[in-house]
Symmetry: C2
Subunit: 304 residues, 2 copies
């Protein structure tokens, strides 16, 4: 299968390179690093085994790329307005567009702009970041779940998962809504709270007050998910997420890294959208609404 990677950063650079290393036909869209990668290739420093791609197929203009069977969208959602121009050149009649992005409501918005596209969600559980031009630092984890949003061919997403697994990346299929909301159970508390209190996951969980608060926030997400019809989730999932995070090394979620590096935060899809979806369905999440307000304030303060 022919793959396009839109956004060759920590996520797209890692997954795309794994697929290419395993012989898939992968086409990478690059921006500032195009010249460097064209000349020097891509270096993947990975806890799962480092490697180098000598001559990846790289592009600086999406119009030079071929139509692909699978498009992996690995941009930050704050850049999703670019999809208007970036997707059409690489998407053909049977193309599957996989949005490997954070948050809730992403597929809905892309589908609205492109009603005919076949969309799927990619839920990445990975610590990986761009460490420099053409250099990806994959620190830990790495598995990815796919959720079908609007695929016409029910087998297509399984073939993508098979390609990932063959390339050494653990991948599975999950029910779309359940997957997005389950990820939100972790994402919504930890992304915002590490920014609001200028800290990392471990310290939030060591302090009994914030440990309890994180759990209450998780219960808000779980309550919203159940209210919206996600059945395979209950309160025990909060405890499972907390125990899992206890076992992780001290961790700065993506929003904390964005904030620290003065990049825009993904407040829209991580907070505003899910909060609005839940509220419109009659379910309030007061603690996470408060967190959203704090993040909006901090974002504004920083740019002021």
């Amino acid at each position: 299968m022919k793959y396009a990677v839109i956004g060759t950063g920590g996520i797209g650079g890692y997954y795309g390179s794994r697929l290419a290393q395993n012989g898939q036909d992968v086409h990478f869209l690059l921006h500032s690093d195009y010249e460097f990668v064209k000349e020097h290739g891509l270096q993947i420093d990975s806890c799962a085994g480092s490697f180098h791609l000598d001559r990846p197929a790289v592009y600086r203009d999406v119009h030079d790329m071929p139509k692909c069977d699978v498009v992996l969208v690995c941009l930050k959602t704050v850049n999703n307005h670019l999809l208007e121009s970036l997707l059409p050149p690489v998407v053909g009649d049977d193309t599957l567009v996989v949005l490997i992005q954070n948050g809730i409501g992403v597929e809905q918005d892309v589908q609205e702009r492109f009603p005919g596209f076949q969309l799927a969600a990619g839920l990445a559980f990975i610590c990986s970041a761009k460490a420099g031009p053409g250099r990806i630092d994959h620190q830990c984890y790495g598995y990815i779940n796919f959720g079908d949003y609007s695929c016409r061919d029910p087998e297509a997403l399984q073939r993508v998962a098979d390609d990932f697994n063959a390339a050494g990346v653990q991948a599975g299929l999950v029910e779309y809504n359940e997957a997005r909301w389950k990820k939100a159970v972790w994402n919504m508390p930890f992304n915002g709270m590490t920014v609001a209190l200028g800290t990392q996951t471990d310290r939030l969980l060591r302090n009994p007050s914030t440990r309890n608060l994180i759990r209450e926030q998780m219960l808000e997400v779980i309550g919203a998910a159940r209210h919206l019809g996600v059945e395979r989730i209950d309160e025990g999932f909060a405890d499972h997420m907390i125990t899992t995070t206890d076992a992780m090394t001290p961790y700065s979620p993506s929003m904390k890294l964005d904030f620290d590096h003065h990049r825009p935060m993904e407040i829209d899809y991580l907070y505003t959208r899910p909060l609005r979806i839940a509220r419109e369905a009659g379910f309030a999440m007061p603690r996470l609404e408060m967190l959203e307000a704090e993040l909006r304030f901090l974002e504004r303060s920083r740019t002021a």
Copy 2:
């Protein structure tokens, strides 16, 4: 009447000096500034007119003080454990103890330790701080409301208010519970939020997200107050408090000043107690519970 001032800081130093300036018999307890004030007196720099007390009656040991008719307790509540030893020497059979302190539950705790004492609450609306040894900086406002908690003589508190008014400090009598909870409507949102977001009142109100959050938090306090039987308060009071604060100069509440100066914060009486009282009565305040958790975290981080 004979007055004792326990805690000669921004509040006690100002009100006590106004009373003394107007001829009342005021006895000040001092700690670190005793020697200085003994020699140089008290200088009050005040928006309502500056003045100097040449020879105030000052004490470093409460056992040297006389029994008084009125004891004004002007300590931060974080020091209320000291009342165990500070109150008995100055309190006689008919003494009225006025707790000019922040928060909810203060009178209950003091009454539990001293069942026979006559207690009242003092609600100070004032910006005043110690600017140096023997020097009080009274920046603005200044009025004080008194609420009867357990006075045996119903006239006693009125006489105190009369003394304050005669000394040029606007003072009135209010219903105890209503007064404490109304003050909490302002105190609970602004004290904690200025600490949590490292800002001042004006910027919280200029940002639409936090302006709305402040209002939601005020509605939580108003809801709790009504649930607890305070009748003369409704949602309009939140809008009134916000409009009032809009008209104030940019302001750092006392908890923000405490935090900035590495002093302990009054989290117990400003948050934990009212939250517990409301919760035990079946009323939840999720946003203010979250704020309490954030403050506990920040307090712990700072000392760690």
